[in-house]
């Protein structure tokens, strides 16, 4: 079992890297956005009198760029592709469950997210003198919840989309607005109020609020709604996937 997991992980990771797109969208893009924000706002305080810088404030948001890329772009595409190519069906005539290959994909995208997190953390600390003021365990716990929630959206979309093409359309519809308007790239704090209100409807925006709360050590009472949002999204998507997932 361990041998199976290791070999499959190694090969699937190679295939994923060969695809290049995740390297670009999950690993490079967060760093690029970090550098741009760093150059634009440098070490200015987030607002007059704030005890953290603008970039420190943005850290929680930047950390979600790769979760978003893997969850709502990478996963839906690979899941629907493996179904359309009948790879999932092929697994039904082996001693291994098709669930294993799905969990390998989840592991790969989690790995991308963690590598990206580490990379932007190092860049922020080394090049822009950022300090992580919040609680690390809390941040990591929220980070896992946001990952779970976004990935469950991806599995659901990939699992119920009738084919790869439709999955691609749905993924784009989810990915691009969330990337731009949830605050992941364009900072939430500089959006006009109307846009902020609209953005708050997106699950990733709630996820970012959660992460900012932990990274900036903000008052705990602000966490309840984002926390519930993330949990409900995860639960609903997992339930829908379990019920309607199409293996072929």
């Amino acid at each position: 079992m361990m041998k199976t997991f290791k070999t499959m992980m190694k090969i699937e990771l190679k295939l994923s890297l060969r695809g290049m797109d995740m390297l670009l969208f999950a690993i490079c893009m967060p760093v690029v956005v970090l550098v741009i924000l760093g150059m634009l706002y440098g070490d200015k305080p987030a607002f007059a009198g704030a005890d953290y810088t603008f970039l420190e404030q943005s850290f929680g948001a930047l950390a979600t760029i790769s979760i978003c890329a893997g969850g709502v772009m990478g996963l839906p595409l690979v899941v629907s592709d493996y179904r359309d190519k009948r790879i999932l069906k092929r697994f039904q005539v082996t001693p291994v469950s098709p669930l294993l290959i799905l969990s390998i994909q989840v592991a790969i995208y989690t790995l991308y997210a963690l590598v990206s997190l580490l990379l932007i953390y190092l860049c922020a600390v080394i090049f822009f003198d950022c300090h992580f003021q919040g609680s690390l365990p809390k941040f990591l716990a929220y980070y896992l919840l946001v990952t779970l929630s976004m990935f469950s959206i991806g599995i659901m979309v990939g699992g119920i989309a009738p084919n790869t093409k439709t999955a691609g359309v749905w993924a784009s519809v989810l990915y691009f607005p969330m990337l731009v308007f949830s605050g992941a790239t364009l900072p939430y704090e500089i959006m006009p109020t109307a846009l902020q209100k609209a953005a708050s409807l997106m699950p990733l925006t709630q996820g970012i609020k959660l992460l900012k709360n932990a990274s900036l050590d903000l008052p705990a009472e602000n966490v309840l709604i984002p926390f519930l949002c993330m949990s409900v999204v995860a639960l609903v998507c997992i339930a829908v996937s379990l019920k309607f997932f199409k293996w072929e």
Binding site: T7, K14, L15, G19, R86, I87, K89, R90, V93, E248
Partner: protein, 244 residues
């Protein structure tokens, strides 16, 4: 001899259309069984119901005495399958796909040996997508043989192969059969069926119209060439006379 595959009263309906109708068959250890019939006669549905990737409406199936739904993991340690449509990841190479497949099983054959036996060991680093149809077909037979199977299912065995490779594949399968491998195949090539199959079953619109050996089929028909015999069994009613 022990029944490696046993199917009783297998029935599968799609809506009101009965794709497979009360089929009985059994395959003994170390024999080759050929499932024949025109496109749409129910061959693939039958195979899928036997393998458990489709659920039959009625009937029972056992492979090596086990139920393919309930004991899937145990059965497929020792059963190799080549589906009609090849399933593989985009951008994967031949060696990666072999390694990937081998990792799924407890005990496996050295796939390098199989690849060279099938004449594609020089393609190790090639993307599977870039292989010719015949090379890809041979690769998927290799994949079915990687788990050192006791039973293999080969759907459309040599479709896409040239005359030489067909002969090579026959030779390899005949050798494996000598070593006790049980083979369940479908094919559209009657020369191949004649050479390889100990038992055949001809399907027509989901029903068995002939079950027995090739020699018996020839005896029951007015023809001598097996291809004519096969066509005689599968032809729609009324056309038989015209051909006589």
């Amino acid at each position: 001899m022990k029944d490696m595959i046993k199917v009783e009263k297998l029935t599968k309906k799609y809506g009101s259309h009965t794709a497979v109708d009360e089929i009985n068959l059994s395959v003994k250890r170390g024999t080759v069984f050929g499932l024949l019939g025109a496109n749409g006669a129910g061959k693939t549905t039958t195979i899928e119901c036997i393998l458990g990737t489709k659920k039959a409406d009625h009937g029972t199936v056992s492979i090596m005495g086990m139920d393919p739904h309930k004991q899937r993991k145990k059965i497929f340690q020792k059963v190799g399958v080549q589906f009609q449509e090849a399933a593989y990841q985009d951008k994967i190479t031949v060696s990666e796909l072999c390694e990937f497949t081998a990792s799924l099983y407890k005990s496996t054959t050295d796939f390098m040996e199989l690849l060279s036996e099938f004449g594609i060991s020089d393609k190790l680093k090639s993307p599977v997508k870039e292989l010719s149809g015949g090379q890809r077909q041979r690769l998927f037979i290799v994949l079915a043989l990687i788990p050192k199977p006791e039973v293999v299912f080969l759907d459309e065995l040599t479709t896409g192969l040239d005359a030489r490779s067909r002969r090579d594949v026959w030779k390899i399968l005949a050798d494996l059969k000598e070593m006790g491998l049980t083979i369940f195949l479908t094919s559209h090539f009657m020369d191949e069926v004649e050479v390889l199959c100990d038992q055949i079953c001809i399907l027509k619109r989901g029903k068995i119209v002939f079950y027995g050996t090739v020699a018996e089929a020839i005896r029951q028909s007015p023809y001598e060439k097996f291809e004519d015999v096969y066509l005689w069994f599968t032809d729609e009613e009324g056309q038989n006379d015209e051909n006589l």
